[in-house]
């Protein structure tokens, strides 16, 4: 019988621990498919961060390093400088990257470090049970913004791609989503290009992936996909911010 669907080699056989309806698993799969297609599993080192994906070093088949909260870009810098021939990626959530790790993500882009960041944005802290993140939407109820995020109290959501795309060292910057098949396919294309940009030695590349958190949003998986489309995308418009026409 012909095989029509299989697990990418770059993923291990371990069952993932993510909640039902969470799109982390999809993003993992996309990264692994890209690693397979580029044939770089043996020369790739991934950096796990702190958040729901803290232990995804168990899910990827390439060498993996676990980093402190927010510090993955600095850790990746050290790894890449020792073995510039390797592909190095960080996998970070919005709490990790856009709050405690703001300095690290900005300066990895300032240096134009030749690494790739997969930035999973679900507008909330998932692992610690649904606190407000810098990316939380105006009006969004979380355990630390129980009356909804109010600009006069908690300020405004941070648009990471727009901010980083002002830096010349960030040569490929794109925001994608996981809310339907078409967008998932686009997400894969962006992730692949981000890795190719790195392999070509052009500079820092980042793909922001809008993702669900049904558990902490208090929505079912289907409602969650709709919530991305209807609530998140207006705040976080999809598209390429930098490097669309780069030849790789």
């Amino acid at each position: 019988m012909a095989t029509v669907f299989k697990k990418p080699h770059a993923l291990t056989d371990l069952p993932m621990h993510y909640c039902p309806g969470c799109t982390h698993g999809i993003v993992h799969r996309l990264v692994a498919e890209v690693i397979d297609e580029l044939g770089i599993e043996g020369s790739t080192v991934g950096v796990s961060s702190v958040g729901c994906s803290y232990n995804n070093y168990l899910y990827f088949n390439c060498d993996m390093v676990q980093a402190a909260h927010g510090r993955a870009p600095a850790v990746a810098t050290g790894i890449k400088r020792v073995h510039p021939e390797n592909a190095v990626f960080t996998y970070q959530g919005d709490g990790d990257l856009a709050a405690i790790g703001t300095a690290e993500i900005v300066h990895v882009a300032v240096r134009g470090e030749k690494i790739t960041t997969i930035f999973v944005n679900n507008a909330i802290y998932g692992m610690t049970s649904g606190q407000m993140a810098p990316t939380t939407l105006i009006g969004q109820v979380t355990t630390t913004s129980p009356f909804g995020r109010k600009p006069e109290i908690q300020g405004y959501p941070v648009n990471v791609c727009e901010m980083l795309s002002t830096l010349p060292g960030a040569v490929f910057v794109e925001r994608v989503s996981t809310h339907d098949i078409k967008n998932i396919n686009n997400a894969k294309k962006a992730i692949k290009k981000a890795f190719q940009v790195q392999l070509a030695g052009l500079g820092f590349s980042i793909v922001e992936v809008l993702s669900t958190c049904p558990t902490n949003w208090g929505l079912d998986p289907i409602q969650s996909l709709k919530w991305i489309e209807e609530k998140m995308i207006p705040q976080y418009p999809l598209g390429n911010f930098r490097g669309k026409d780069l030849e790789v």
């Binding site: 060498d63 390093v65 510090r71 050290g78 020792v82 300095a103």
Partner: protein, 351 residues
């Protein structure tokens, strides 16, 4: 051995690291240790290595974590306030069992404090400045020559035990120019780093470097492994200099810059008919308890002299274990204890 060269302490640290095969330095400017970064910035290209000026001390130490994960000899350096910022990554590095070297050229605190020499980071270095049950090997040089030799040793100790080694000098040593004699080649401890995340090459299972162990049974087991390693280090790596301790009237405990002052005090005191001994810990952790035990009943009293409010004195008291009184004399804020005031303190104690 080669010829003697006059060099600044901070530059000698960087030169020693290069000679020890460290090709990856990550730093952030802070007085009084920045010459270390200047030296690396200039020299690293010749060695085919990397010098990165990080955005913060936090990032610099995390870069060391990354470079060490990738199997390289890596180091960072800073001074007190910057070392405080590195504590998070130091704890992670200890738990992940990564070999790394951290240099602290101590300045006076607390807070932003001042930029002059002090020894006020002893607690932070030896009792665990970061969270969790871990230890740093802490080497305390007292001359520029020793800055060189102990920096080289730090890399070998780090690799041998997969642990962090700190070279702790002070602003005086870092800024001091003194003759130094380099060896023609350095003995480099060669070790298998098959655990490193260098890329699997599809030839082995993937390697993982981590400091998180969610299962309590596994984390306890990991802690026991770390403790066994620290016991091994204590057994093998404890270093101390004892001087003039036989029949001493009083034994002074001092390290680093202060130990140099004590050697002059010993000469002056001799003229007054007082025999002063010196126990100079070279490793602050592991602390040379045995040297104190050996001489515990020889003098009338012990005196710890430090450029702090009294930190190492606690370990001296533990080591002497009540057999003799242990006194303390210290200066703070960048003030250096003088021979005269130390001698006066000795005379008061012996009165």
């Amino acid at each position: 051995m080669g010829e003697k060269i006059l060099m600044k302490g901070n530059e000698v640290i960087a030169e020693a690291a290069l000679r020890a095969g460290c090709k990856h330095y990550f730093g952030y400017p802070i007085t009084p240790q920045t010459e270390i970064a200047h030296y690396f910035a200039k020299k690293m290209p010749q060695y085919g290595g990397t010098f990165v000026q990080a955005e913060s001390e936090i990032a610099a130490m995390n870069m060391v974590y990354g470079a060490a994960s990738a199997g390289a000899r890596a180091m960072t350096s800073s001074s007190s306030p910057g070392i405080s910022l590195k504590q998070e990554a130091i704890s992670y590095t200890a738990c992940a069992e990564l070999p790394a070297v951290v240099v602290n050229i101590v300045r006076c605190g607390p807070g932003l404090g001042g930029i002059l020499a002090a020894q006020c980071d002893y607690f932070q270095a030896t009792k665990g400045g970061g969270h969790g049950d871990y230890r740093l090997v802490v080497l305390a040089p007292s001359s520029v020559q020793e800055l060189y030799e102990l920096t080289v040793d730090a890399f070998n100790i780090a690799d041998r035990y997969r642990t962090i080694c700190m070279v702790m000098g002070d602003g005086m040593l870092g800024q001091m120019m003194e003759a130094v004699e380099f060896r023609d080649t350095e003995e480099k401890f060669e070790t298998d780093k098959s655990w490193a995340t260098t890329g699997s090459g599809m030839k082995r299972e993937h390697n993982i470097v981590t400091s998180i162990y969610i299962e309590p049974e596994i984390l306890e087991k990991h802690n026991l492994k770390l403790q066994a390693k620290y016991a091994e280090i204590t057994k093998n790596e404890t270093r101390v200099e004892t001087f003039n301790c036989e029949d001493a009237d009083i034994i002074v405990a001092a390290y680093g810059t202060v130990a140099r002052i004590i050697k002059n005090v010993i000469k002056t005191a001799e003229k007054d008919g007082i025999k002063v001994g010196l126990i100079r810990p070279i490793t602050l952790w592991p602390f040379p308890t045995a040297a104190f035990e050996k001489y515990a009943e020889v003098p009338k009293a012990f005196l710890a002299v430090e450029m702090s409010a009294g930190q190492m004195v606690e370990d001296v008291r533990l080591a002497v274990n009540g057999k003799r009184p242990v006194h303390f004399h210290g200066r703070m804020g960048g003030m250096i204890p003088t021979q005269k005031e130390i001698l006066q303190k000795i005379k008061e104690i012996l009165k």
